[in-house]
Symmetry: C2
Subunit: 223 residues, 2 copies
Protein backbone atom coordinates (compact mmCIF):
# COMPACT_ATOMS: atom_id res chain seq x y z
CA UNK A 1 0.00 0.00 0.00
CA UNK A 2 2.71 2.49 1.00
CA UNK A 3 6.10 2.82 -0.67
CA UNK A 4 9.29 2.06 1.24
CA UNK A 5 12.88 0.90 0.80
CA UNK A 6 13.57 -2.84 0.65
CA UNK A 7 15.82 -3.65 3.61
CA UNK A 8 14.39 -1.35 6.22
CA UNK A 9 12.40 -2.60 9.23
CA UNK A 10 8.84 -3.21 8.09
CA UNK A 11 6.39 -0.36 8.27
CA UNK A 12 4.37 -0.04 11.42
CA UNK A 13 1.28 -1.21 9.60
CA UNK A 14 2.97 -4.43 8.53
CA UNK A 15 4.55 -5.03 11.92
CA UNK A 16 1.13 -4.70 13.51
CA UNK A 17 -0.37 -7.15 11.06
CA UNK A 18 2.41 -9.65 11.73
CA UNK A 19 2.12 -9.36 15.49
CA UNK A 20 -1.66 -9.58 15.36
CA UNK A 21 -1.52 -12.69 13.22
CA UNK A 22 0.86 -14.39 15.63
CA UNK A 23 -1.08 -13.50 18.75
CA UNK A 24 -4.51 -14.16 17.30
CA UNK A 25 -3.32 -17.58 16.17
CA UNK A 26 -1.94 -18.31 19.59
CA UNK A 27 -4.74 -17.10 21.78
CA UNK A 28 -7.77 -16.23 19.71
CA UNK A 29 -9.25 -12.92 18.70
CA UNK A 30 -10.99 -11.86 21.88
CA UNK A 31 -8.26 -12.72 24.33
CA UNK A 32 -5.60 -10.61 22.67
CA UNK A 33 -5.59 -6.91 23.50
CA UNK A 34 -4.36 -4.12 21.28
CA UNK A 35 -1.69 -3.52 23.87
CA UNK A 36 -0.44 -7.07 23.45
CA UNK A 37 -0.23 -6.50 19.74
CA UNK A 38 1.40 -3.08 19.75
CA UNK A 39 3.77 -4.23 22.46
CA UNK A 40 5.03 -7.09 20.33
CA UNK A 41 5.04 -4.92 17.21
CA UNK A 42 6.99 -2.17 19.00
CA UNK A 43 4.35 0.29 17.98
CA UNK A 44 2.02 2.63 19.79
CA UNK A 45 -1.46 1.69 20.87
CA UNK A 46 -2.93 4.55 18.92
CA UNK A 47 -1.30 3.28 15.74
CA UNK A 48 -3.85 0.50 15.44
CA UNK A 49 -6.73 2.90 15.30
CA UNK A 50 -4.81 5.18 13.00
CA UNK A 51 -4.04 2.43 10.48
CA UNK A 52 -7.09 0.20 10.80
CA UNK A 53 -9.83 2.14 12.54
CA UNK A 54 -10.72 -0.47 15.14
CA UNK A 55 -9.74 -3.82 16.51
CA UNK A 56 -12.42 -5.54 14.46
CA UNK A 57 -11.14 -4.05 11.24
CA UNK A 58 -7.64 -5.16 12.19
CA UNK A 59 -8.89 -8.72 12.46
CA UNK A 60 -10.47 -8.38 9.03
CA UNK A 61 -7.25 -7.00 7.61
CA UNK A 62 -5.22 -9.93 8.93
CA UNK A 63 -7.67 -12.38 7.43
CA UNK A 64 -7.91 -10.56 4.12
CA UNK A 65 -4.16 -10.58 3.71
CA UNK A 66 -4.23 -14.34 3.11
CA UNK A 67 -7.81 -15.40 2.44
CA UNK A 68 -8.13 -13.88 -1.02
CA UNK A 69 -4.96 -15.36 -2.52
CA UNK A 70 -5.55 -18.77 -0.95
CA UNK A 71 -9.12 -19.13 -2.13
CA UNK A 72 -8.26 -17.95 -5.61
CA UNK A 73 -5.44 -20.46 -5.80
CA UNK A 74 -7.81 -23.19 -4.62
CA UNK A 75 -10.22 -22.42 -7.44
CA UNK A 76 -7.36 -22.35 -9.94
CA UNK A 77 -6.06 -25.73 -8.82
CA UNK A 78 -9.48 -27.32 -8.83
CA UNK A 79 -10.16 -26.02 -12.34
CA UNK A 80 -6.73 -27.27 -13.38
CA UNK A 81 -7.44 -30.74 -11.99
CA UNK A 82 -10.81 -30.84 -13.73
CA UNK A 83 -9.03 -30.13 -17.00
CA UNK A 84 -6.46 -32.85 -16.45
CA UNK A 85 -9.19 -35.39 -15.72
CA UNK A 86 -11.63 -34.28 -18.35
CA UNK A 87 -12.57 -37.84 -19.26
CA UNK A 88 -13.76 -38.70 -15.78
CA UNK A 89 -14.27 -37.27 -12.31
CA UNK A 90 -11.30 -35.85 -10.42
CA UNK A 91 -10.06 -38.29 -7.74
CA UNK A 92 -10.88 -37.33 -4.18
CA UNK A 93 -7.23 -37.02 -3.23
CA UNK A 94 -6.69 -34.51 -6.03
CA UNK A 95 -9.63 -32.43 -4.84
CA UNK A 96 -8.39 -32.42 -1.26
CA UNK A 97 -4.95 -31.54 -2.52
CA UNK A 98 -6.32 -28.56 -4.42
CA UNK A 99 -7.95 -27.42 -1.22
CA UNK A 100 -4.98 -27.83 1.07
CA UNK A 101 -1.95 -27.13 -1.10
CA UNK A 102 -2.54 -23.37 -1.35
CA UNK A 103 -2.47 -23.16 2.42
CA UNK A 104 0.86 -24.97 2.53
CA UNK A 105 2.28 -22.72 -0.17
CA UNK A 106 1.15 -19.59 1.63
CA UNK A 107 2.77 -20.83 4.82
CA UNK A 108 5.98 -21.69 3.00
CA UNK A 109 6.37 -18.21 1.57
CA UNK A 110 7.89 -17.10 4.81
CA UNK A 111 9.44 -19.90 6.87
CA UNK A 112 9.72 -17.65 9.89
CA UNK A 113 5.99 -17.22 10.20
CA UNK A 114 5.31 -20.82 9.29
CA UNK A 115 3.97 -22.04 12.58
CA UNK A 116 2.36 -18.71 13.33
CA UNK A 117 0.27 -18.75 10.21
CA UNK A 118 -0.58 -22.43 10.65
CA UNK A 119 -2.36 -21.69 13.85
CA UNK A 120 -3.97 -18.58 12.54
CA UNK A 121 -5.45 -20.48 9.60
CA UNK A 122 -6.62 -23.22 11.91
CA UNK A 123 -8.29 -20.67 14.09
CA UNK A 124 -10.11 -19.02 11.22
CA UNK A 125 -11.43 -22.41 10.18
CA UNK A 126 -12.57 -23.29 13.66
CA UNK A 127 -13.35 -20.15 15.64
CA UNK A 128 -16.95 -20.13 16.71
CA UNK A 129 -18.96 -16.99 16.17
CA UNK A 130 -16.28 -15.33 14.13
CA UNK A 131 -17.69 -13.75 11.00
CA UNK A 132 -15.60 -13.71 7.86
CA UNK A 133 -15.11 -10.18 6.53
CA UNK A 134 -17.78 -9.30 3.96
CA UNK A 135 -15.06 -8.75 1.40
CA UNK A 136 -14.04 -12.40 1.34
CA UNK A 137 -17.37 -14.11 2.01
CA UNK A 138 -18.59 -14.43 -1.59
CA UNK A 139 -15.35 -15.96 -2.81
CA UNK A 140 -15.35 -18.31 0.13
CA UNK A 141 -18.86 -19.57 -0.48
CA UNK A 142 -18.20 -19.92 -4.19
CA UNK A 143 -15.11 -21.95 -3.40
CA UNK A 144 -16.90 -24.24 -0.95
CA UNK A 145 -19.69 -24.89 -3.46
CA UNK A 146 -17.22 -25.76 -6.21
CA UNK A 147 -15.41 -28.27 -4.01
CA UNK A 148 -18.63 -29.85 -2.83
CA UNK A 149 -19.73 -30.26 -6.44
CA UNK A 150 -16.40 -31.84 -7.42
CA UNK A 151 -16.59 -34.26 -4.50
CA UNK A 152 -20.13 -35.27 -5.39
CA UNK A 153 -18.98 -36.11 -8.89
CA UNK A 154 -16.01 -38.01 -7.56
CA UNK A 155 -18.25 -40.20 -5.41
CA UNK A 156 -21.60 -40.35 -7.25
CA UNK A 157 -22.48 -43.48 -5.31
CA UNK A 158 -22.69 -41.52 -2.05
CA UNK A 159 -25.67 -39.43 -1.02
CA UNK A 160 -25.20 -35.67 -1.16
CA UNK A 161 -25.46 -35.50 2.61
CA UNK A 162 -22.73 -38.02 3.14
CA UNK A 163 -20.43 -36.12 0.81
CA UNK A 164 -21.11 -32.88 2.66
CA UNK A 165 -20.39 -34.44 6.04
CA UNK A 166 -17.19 -36.04 4.86
CA UNK A 167 -16.04 -32.80 3.35
CA UNK A 168 -16.69 -31.26 6.71
CA UNK A 169 -14.73 -33.98 8.49
CA UNK A 170 -11.80 -33.32 6.18
CA UNK A 171 -11.90 -29.63 7.05
CA UNK A 172 -11.89 -30.68 10.69
CA UNK A 173 -8.74 -32.73 10.29
CA UNK A 174 -7.01 -29.91 8.50
CA UNK A 175 -7.91 -27.12 10.90
CA UNK A 176 -7.24 -29.22 13.97
CA UNK A 177 -3.83 -30.21 12.68
CA UNK A 178 -2.94 -26.66 11.73
CA UNK A 179 -3.81 -25.41 15.18
CA UNK A 180 -1.89 -28.10 16.99
CA UNK A 181 1.06 -28.54 14.69
CA UNK A 182 3.36 -27.57 17.52
CA UNK A 183 2.34 -30.37 19.85
CA UNK A 184 2.56 -32.80 16.99
CA UNK A 185 6.10 -31.85 16.18
CA UNK A 186 7.01 -32.72 19.73
CA UNK A 187 5.50 -36.14 19.32
CA UNK A 188 7.43 -36.93 16.19
CA UNK A 189 10.59 -35.17 17.35
CA UNK A 190 11.75 -38.37 19.01
CA UNK A 191 12.81 -39.75 15.67
CA UNK A 192 13.74 -37.20 13.11
CA UNK A 193 12.30 -33.82 14.03
CA UNK A 194 9.72 -31.89 12.05
CA UNK A 195 8.51 -34.08 9.21
CA UNK A 196 7.89 -31.01 7.17
CA UNK A 197 4.57 -29.60 6.28
CA UNK A 198 4.51 -31.12 2.84
CA UNK A 199 4.73 -34.65 4.14
CA UNK A 200 2.30 -33.91 6.93
CA UNK A 201 -0.30 -32.71 4.47
CA UNK A 202 0.26 -35.67 2.17
CA UNK A 203 -0.45 -37.78 5.20
CA UNK A 204 -3.65 -35.89 5.96
CA UNK A 205 -4.85 -36.24 2.38
CA UNK A 206 -4.21 -40.00 2.48
CA UNK A 207 -6.27 -40.26 5.63
CA UNK A 208 -9.19 -38.21 4.39
CA UNK A 209 -9.23 -39.74 0.93
CA UNK A 210 -9.38 -43.16 2.54
CA UNK A 211 -12.23 -41.92 4.70
CA UNK A 212 -14.14 -41.01 1.53
CA UNK A 213 -13.70 -44.58 0.34
CA UNK A 214 -15.87 -45.97 3.12
CA UNK A 215 -19.07 -47.45 1.71
CA UNK A 216 -22.30 -45.75 2.67
CA UNK A 217 -24.15 -47.55 5.44
CA UNK A 218 -27.90 -48.08 5.45
CA UNK A 219 -30.28 -46.84 2.77
CA UNK A 220 -29.84 -43.53 1.03
CA UNK A 221 -31.74 -40.60 2.44
CA UNK A 222 -31.37 -41.93 5.95
CA UNK A 223 -30.34 -38.46 7.07
Amino acid sequence: MTERAADVPAETRERILDAAEALFGERGFDSVSLRDITGQAEANVAAVNYHFGSKEKLVDAVVERHAGPINEERMRRLADAEERFEEGPVPVSEILDAFLRPVVDEIMKDPVTERVFCKFMGRIMSEQGYQLPESVKPLFQQMAAAFAQALRMARPDLSDQTVMWRMHYSFGVMSHTLMHSEKLEQISAGRSGNPGLEKLFDHIIEFCAAGFLAPEQGEEGQW
Copy 2:
Protein backbone atom coordinates in the same frame (compact mmCIF):
# COMPACT_ATOMS: atom_id res chain seq x y z
CA MET B 1 -23.30 -31.73 46.85
CA THR B 2 -26.07 -29.90 48.67
CA GLU B 3 -29.47 -31.34 49.49
CA ARG B 4 -32.62 -29.91 47.90
CA ALA B 5 -36.15 -30.87 46.84
CA ALA B 6 -36.62 -32.52 43.46
CA ASP B 7 -38.82 -30.14 41.49
CA VAL B 8 -37.44 -26.82 42.61
CA PRO B 9 -35.36 -24.50 40.40
CA ALA B 10 -31.77 -25.69 40.44
CA GLU B 11 -29.44 -24.35 43.08
CA THR B 12 -27.50 -21.25 42.24
CA ARG B 13 -24.31 -23.24 42.00
CA GLU B 14 -25.81 -25.53 39.39
CA ARG B 15 -27.42 -22.71 37.44
CA ILE B 16 -24.07 -20.98 37.25
CA LEU B 17 -22.38 -24.14 36.02
CA ASP B 18 -25.07 -24.63 33.37
CA ALA B 19 -24.88 -21.04 32.15
CA ALA B 20 -21.09 -21.07 32.14
CA GLU B 21 -21.01 -24.28 30.14
CA ALA B 22 -23.37 -22.85 27.53
CA LEU B 23 -21.57 -19.53 27.18
CA PHE B 24 -18.06 -20.98 27.26
CA GLY B 25 -19.05 -23.43 24.54
CA GLU B 26 -20.49 -20.65 22.46
CA ARG B 27 -17.81 -18.01 22.78
CA GLY B 28 -14.77 -19.45 24.49
CA PHE B 29 -13.43 -19.00 27.98
CA ASP B 30 -11.82 -15.60 27.76
CA SER B 31 -14.58 -13.81 25.91
CA VAL B 32 -17.28 -14.62 28.43
CA SER B 33 -17.50 -12.40 31.49
CA LEU B 34 -18.75 -13.37 34.89
CA ARG B 35 -21.53 -10.86 34.38
CA ASP B 36 -22.61 -12.67 31.21
CA ILE B 37 -22.76 -15.88 33.19
CA THR B 38 -24.55 -14.64 36.26
CA GLY B 39 -26.93 -12.69 34.06
CA GLN B 40 -28.00 -15.81 32.22
CA ALA B 41 -28.04 -17.85 35.43
CA GLU B 42 -30.16 -15.20 37.17
CA ALA B 43 -27.62 -15.10 39.94
CA ASN B 44 -25.47 -12.44 41.47
CA VAL B 45 -21.95 -11.63 40.35
CA ALA B 46 -20.62 -12.26 43.80
CA ALA B 47 -22.09 -15.76 43.79
CA VAL B 48 -19.37 -16.99 41.45
CA ASN B 49 -16.63 -16.06 43.81
CA TYR B 50 -18.58 -17.39 46.73
CA HIS B 51 -19.15 -20.80 45.16
CA PHE B 52 -16.01 -21.24 43.09
CA GLY B 53 -13.43 -18.74 44.30
CA SER B 54 -12.47 -17.35 40.90
CA LYS B 55 -13.33 -17.43 37.25
CA GLU B 56 -10.51 -19.86 36.54
CA LYS B 57 -11.78 -22.29 39.13
CA LEU B 58 -15.24 -22.00 37.64
CA VAL B 59 -13.83 -23.12 34.30
CA ASP B 60 -12.19 -26.06 36.02
CA ALA B 61 -15.44 -26.95 37.75
CA VAL B 62 -17.34 -26.98 34.47
CA VAL B 63 -14.75 -29.25 32.92
CA GLU B 64 -14.53 -31.54 35.91
CA ARG B 65 -18.26 -32.05 35.94
CA HIS B 66 -18.01 -34.11 32.76
CA ALA B 67 -14.37 -35.02 32.17
CA GLY B 68 -14.04 -37.55 34.97
CA PRO B 69 -17.12 -39.64 34.13
CA ILE B 70 -16.41 -39.55 30.40
CA ASN B 71 -12.80 -40.64 30.65
CA GLU B 72 -13.62 -43.39 33.12
CA GLU B 73 -16.33 -44.68 30.82
CA ARG B 74 -13.88 -44.61 27.92
CA MET B 75 -11.45 -46.78 29.83
CA ARG B 76 -14.24 -49.16 30.81
CA ARG B 77 -15.43 -49.54 27.24
CA LEU B 78 -11.94 -50.05 25.89
CA ALA B 79 -11.24 -52.71 28.49
CA ASP B 80 -14.57 -54.30 27.67
CA ALA B 81 -13.76 -54.39 23.95
CA GLU B 82 -10.36 -55.90 24.66
CA GLU B 83 -12.07 -58.66 26.57
CA ARG B 84 -14.54 -59.33 23.79
CA PHE B 85 -11.73 -59.60 21.23
CA GLU B 86 -9.30 -61.47 23.40
CA GLU B 87 -8.18 -63.70 20.53
CA GLY B 88 -7.01 -60.79 18.40
CA PRO B 89 -6.64 -57.02 18.31
CA VAL B 90 -9.71 -54.84 18.77
CA PRO B 91 -10.91 -53.43 15.43
CA VAL B 92 -10.22 -49.76 14.89
CA SER B 93 -13.90 -48.90 14.68
CA GLU B 94 -14.47 -50.49 18.11
CA ILE B 95 -11.66 -48.44 19.60
CA LEU B 96 -12.97 -45.22 18.13
CA ASP B 97 -16.42 -46.14 19.34
CA ALA B 98 -15.14 -46.63 22.87
CA PHE B 99 -13.63 -43.18 22.68
CA LEU B 100 -16.62 -41.36 21.29
CA ARG B 101 -19.63 -43.17 22.70
CA PRO B 102 -19.22 -41.88 26.27
CA VAL B 103 -19.38 -38.33 24.93
CA VAL B 104 -22.62 -39.10 23.13
CA ASP B 105 -24.07 -40.71 26.23
CA GLU B 106 -23.13 -37.76 28.40
CA ILE B 107 -24.75 -35.40 25.93
CA MET B 108 -27.90 -37.52 25.77
CA LYS B 109 -28.39 -37.45 29.52
CA ASP B 110 -30.03 -34.09 29.21
CA PRO B 111 -31.52 -33.40 25.77
CA VAL B 112 -31.97 -29.75 26.61
CA THR B 113 -28.28 -29.15 26.98
CA GLU B 114 -27.42 -31.39 24.08
CA ARG B 115 -26.09 -28.84 21.67
CA VAL B 116 -24.64 -26.75 24.47
CA PHE B 117 -22.47 -29.54 25.75
CA CYS B 118 -21.47 -30.57 22.23
CA LYS B 119 -19.82 -27.26 21.68
CA PHE B 120 -18.29 -27.15 25.09
CA MET B 121 -16.66 -30.54 24.58
CA GLY B 122 -15.44 -29.48 21.17
CA ARG B 123 -13.93 -26.39 22.68
CA ILE B 124 -12.12 -28.29 25.40
CA MET B 125 -10.62 -30.54 22.76
CA SER B 126 -9.55 -27.66 20.58
CA GLU B 127 -8.93 -24.56 22.69
CA GLN B 128 -5.36 -23.46 22.38
CA GLY B 129 -3.48 -22.59 25.54
CA TYR B 130 -6.19 -23.93 27.80
CA GLN B 131 -4.79 -26.12 30.54
CA LEU B 132 -6.80 -29.05 31.77
CA PRO B 133 -7.41 -28.89 35.53
CA GLU B 134 -4.73 -30.77 37.44
CA SER B 135 -7.40 -33.01 38.89
CA VAL B 136 -8.26 -34.57 35.55
CA LYS B 137 -4.87 -34.51 33.83
CA PRO B 138 -3.55 -37.87 35.01
CA LEU B 139 -6.68 -39.74 34.01
CA PHE B 140 -6.65 -37.99 30.67
CA GLN B 141 -3.08 -38.95 29.88
CA GLN B 142 -3.64 -42.48 31.03
CA MET B 143 -6.66 -42.70 28.76
CA ALA B 144 -4.83 -41.30 25.73
CA ALA B 145 -1.97 -43.75 26.23
CA ALA B 146 -4.32 -46.72 26.47
CA PHE B 147 -6.08 -45.78 23.24
CA ALA B 148 -2.82 -45.21 21.40
CA GLN B 149 -1.64 -48.63 22.51
CA ALA B 150 -4.86 -50.28 21.36
CA LEU B 151 -4.65 -48.58 17.98
CA ARG B 152 -1.05 -49.68 17.52
CA MET B 153 -2.08 -53.26 18.14
CA ALA B 154 -5.01 -52.91 15.76
CA ARG B 155 -2.72 -51.75 12.97
CA PRO B 156 0.68 -53.35 13.65
CA ASP B 157 1.64 -52.81 10.01
CA LEU B 158 1.70 -49.04 10.51
CA SER B 159 4.56 -47.13 12.07
CA ASP B 160 3.95 -45.75 15.56
CA GLN B 161 4.11 -42.23 14.21
CA THR B 162 1.46 -42.87 11.62
CA VAL B 163 -0.84 -44.33 14.25
CA MET B 164 -0.34 -41.28 16.45
CA TRP B 165 -1.09 -38.87 13.65
CA ARG B 166 -4.18 -40.72 12.59
CA MET B 167 -5.43 -40.82 16.13
CA HIS B 168 -4.92 -37.10 16.19
CA TYR B 169 -6.82 -36.66 12.93
CA SER B 170 -9.71 -38.62 14.41
CA PHE B 171 -9.78 -36.31 17.41
CA GLY B 172 -9.84 -33.40 14.98
CA VAL B 173 -12.89 -34.75 13.20
CA MET B 174 -14.69 -35.29 16.46
CA SER B 175 -13.96 -31.94 18.05
CA HIS B 176 -14.63 -30.01 14.88
CA THR B 177 -17.96 -31.74 14.40
CA LEU B 178 -18.96 -31.19 18.01
CA MET B 179 -18.22 -27.51 17.79
CA HIS B 180 -20.05 -26.99 14.52
CA SER B 181 -22.94 -29.39 14.95
CA GLU B 182 -25.35 -26.48 14.63
CA LYS B 183 -24.26 -25.43 11.17
CA LEU B 184 -24.33 -29.03 10.06
CA GLU B 185 -27.87 -29.52 11.17
CA GLN B 186 -28.83 -26.64 8.94
CA ILE B 187 -27.15 -28.33 6.00
CA SER B 188 -28.98 -31.58 6.48
CA ALA B 189 -32.24 -29.94 7.54
CA GLY B 190 -33.33 -29.75 3.93
CA ARG B 191 -34.28 -33.39 3.97
CA SER B 192 -35.25 -34.71 7.35
CA GLY B 193 -33.94 -32.48 10.11
CA ASN B 194 -31.42 -33.45 12.74
CA PRO B 195 -30.05 -36.87 11.91
CA GLY B 196 -29.51 -37.53 15.55
CA LEU B 197 -26.23 -37.66 17.32
CA GLU B 198 -26.03 -41.42 17.31
CA LYS B 199 -26.12 -41.67 13.55
CA LEU B 200 -23.80 -38.74 13.19
CA PHE B 201 -21.19 -40.39 15.34
CA ASP B 202 -21.57 -43.70 13.56
CA HIS B 203 -20.84 -41.76 10.42
CA ILE B 204 -17.75 -40.19 11.93
CA ILE B 205 -16.47 -43.54 13.07
CA GLU B 206 -16.94 -45.00 9.59
CA PHE B 207 -14.96 -42.13 8.14
CA CYS B 208 -12.08 -42.34 10.62
CA ALA B 209 -11.90 -46.12 10.60
CA ALA B 210 -11.66 -46.02 6.81
CA GLY B 211 -8.91 -43.43 7.16
CA PHE B 212 -6.96 -45.88 9.32
CA LEU B 213 -7.23 -48.43 6.53
CA ALA B 214 -5.08 -46.35 4.18
CA PRO B 215 -1.79 -48.12 3.46
CA GLU B 216 1.33 -46.40 4.72
CA GLN B 217 3.17 -44.51 2.01
CA GLY B 218 6.94 -44.58 1.63
CA GLU B 219 9.33 -46.46 3.88
CA GLU B 220 8.81 -46.73 7.60
CA GLY B 221 10.58 -44.19 9.71
CA GLN B 222 10.13 -41.53 7.06
CA TRP B 223 8.97 -39.12 9.71
